[in-house]
Symmetry: C2
Subunit: 163 residues, 2 copies
């Protein structure tokens, strides 16, 4: 519990810091997003290594996505992904109806524009985790509904290679 | 456990990022240290608020320092401070014989020069925590011995005000 709070606070600081650096220089918004995504990517690689240490090997791509939705997400956010869909052709939709890293700032409408910067690190986490499991992917995310304390987010890993 | 690993990885990324920004610009080493310390300070303020929610109020300064050594440190680093000393005049020495945030990088001698950047965030954490408990302080740290996997660190909160 304490460490989860720590994660949230650290994440907040990280986002603030990356954007502060950007403001003081001539860096674009896109660059900050990609910085955060890259940090997430490397952290995701490290995390999945630890998380899968005692996990028997995965039988297919879907098996891996289920692991991301359950164990990986729970380890990071103390809850599972609420809904997983796939077209069985490498496109997945992971829906989290209460994404933890948005809640500290979720309030009002102006925040919708701010959302991407709070999703970038986690996009990287997922892409890094998949990468270490041998899957190249592109991970995007969007916020669907955003009342305070119940931010519904959708995560779209698009796998570049078949398992 | 998972979240502790996450903290370590995030911390590593944060340090790397702050130093990368510094290298690409004309920022000095001291500036990066102070950036990390500032991030720690704000995180420390947020954390102590949560950690002390169910704690009866502290009876004196020493009582607060004991809380930092035990609950605060354990919540962050899964171990207590190994040794606490004080001159009873506002100067404290907290010794951690195996500081977790140094271990991922501890190896060899060149690393001694690198140590300060891995201590700055935690200096801020302690200063932020003390600040939220009404104590202004200056917190410095040093590494005493550094064989791989057993980094002895000393932390020196100097309290500016009496309790």
């Amino acid at each position: 519990m304490a460490e989860a709070v720590l994660f949230e606070l650290l994440h907040l600081e990280m986002v603030a810091q990356v954007y502060k650096e950007a403001e003081s220089g001539d860096t674009e918004h896109g660059k900050s997003i990609s910085t955060l995504e890259g940090m997430g990517f490397r952290a995701g690689q490290g995390l999945i290594e630890r998380f899968t240490k005692e996990t028997p090997s995965f039988k297919d791509e879907l098996d891996i996505m289920k692991f991301i939705c359950k164990e990986f997400w729970t380890n990071l956010f103390r809850k599972q992904i609420d809904n997983l869909r796939t077209n069985h052709q490498g496109t997945y939709v992971l829906q989290d109806n209460r994404f933890r890293l948005l809640t500290p700032v979720s309030n009002g409408k102006q925040y919708l524009e701010e959302a991407p910067k709070f999703l970038a690190f986690t996009c990287g986490l997922v892409r890094g985790a998949l990468s270490n499991l041998g899957i190249d992917s592109t991970v995007t995310a969007e916020v669907s509904v955003m009342p305070a304390y119940a931010s519904q987010t959708s995560w779209f890993p698009q796998l570049d290679t078949s398992f």
